[in-house]
Amino acid sequence: MPPTVEFYAPVVAEQLNYEGLFSMKEVFRVIDKYFRTKAFDKKIIFDEEYQTEKGKYIHVKTEYYKKTDSYVRIQTRLWVYANELVEVEKEVDGVKIKTNHGKLSITFDAFIQTQYLNTWPAEKPTGFLFMVLYEQYLARPRIAYWEGVLRHVLTELRTELAGYLNLNKFLYEK
């Protein structure tokens, strides 16, 4: 029997949508670099790229995770979709650069997985009882802390992406 693990999901299916000019490579670089600086490990679940009549279609699902200690593991999931992606050439400060134009959609998920090593043998009633007591009373603040961390991580990532895509320009206009 596989170990019973508990899931806490502080972020569920949050979205970021954008249509216009952006560099697909840069978007992936921003995401990858952000998680690397936060010491997450990476797992690519799948990676698709199709050439269609209107442009490229890209669908990438990645998971970034971190084992904080021997009891709590935090994980994020990202679905990145790009539709009708075409390469365009733009002139910036007199220099011609190649970038992309298309529709981008990113879905974010985050959850906490506790007792991934099956510390309390949860297939036994006593183990399950101890697990519930431990997580409800003793480890409650610790789990709540990591929920906060995950929420913060994804909000920060969204801000980084929004910064790159220039989505907040009207927020700070005088």
């Binding site: 490579k25 992936f28 990858d32 490990d41 690519i44 199709y50 790009a82």
Partner: protein, 172 residues
């Protein structure tokens, strides 16, 4: 000793690239072989299957890193509905391939590749699991597992760069 047919996907050594469009298949094949050989792996072409509408190429790269541990790379290229197309690139006529493609990159590390512990019966098997689980546990995890994981990301990114895919970046 573990064998080549082992499933490493549960350890995360499993990557899939899906691609549809026009590409240089011969070039891609040569690129994959060269990449494996350039990284000091012994290259084997384990299976080629041409069964319309699909074609499968299975390869294997092996590299002994110590007397006890060996890396194994198991890339596969799957093609569907592959047909040659004539394209003019940089003024030259070229024959490329139009297809749907799936590249599976599996890999892993094998301990006790000579099978010395396997030959000696139950006692030696227990010693082997003690060695792997306790004494060499961190060495396996840090020196081989992490190294292999990031090594495969490099391989994946290089293939994506060859195919000029938009997602060909890797910060790890």
């Amino acid at each position: 000793m573990d064998t080549g047919g082992a499933d490493y996907s549960k350890f995360g050594f499993h990557r899939i690239i899906r691609y549809r469009g026009i590409f240089d298949f011969d070039g891609l094949y040569k690129f994959v072989v060269k990449w494996i050989k350039d990284h000091d792996f012994d290259f084997y072409e384990t299976k080629v299957l041409d069964k319309p509408p699909y074609r499968i190429y299975k390869m294997m790269g092996r590299k002994k890193i110590s007397f006890y541990c060996m890396f194994q790379l198991l890339p596969e290229i799957w093609l569907w509905d592959a047909k040659p197309v004539e394209v003019i690139r940089e003024g030259h006529k070229k024959i490329l391939t139009e297809a749907r493609m799936k590249i599976v990159i599996n890999g892993g590390y094998i301990t006790d590749y000579d099978g010395d512990f396997e030959k000696g019966g139950e006692g030696l098997k227990k010693i082997e699991s003690f060695l792997n689980g306790k004494i060499l546990y961190h060495e396996n995890l840090l020196k081989y597992f992490d190294y292999m994981d990031y090594f495969l990301y490099d391989f994946m990114t290089d293939i994506k760069k060859y195919l000029e895919m938009e997602t060909a970046t890797n910060a790890y």
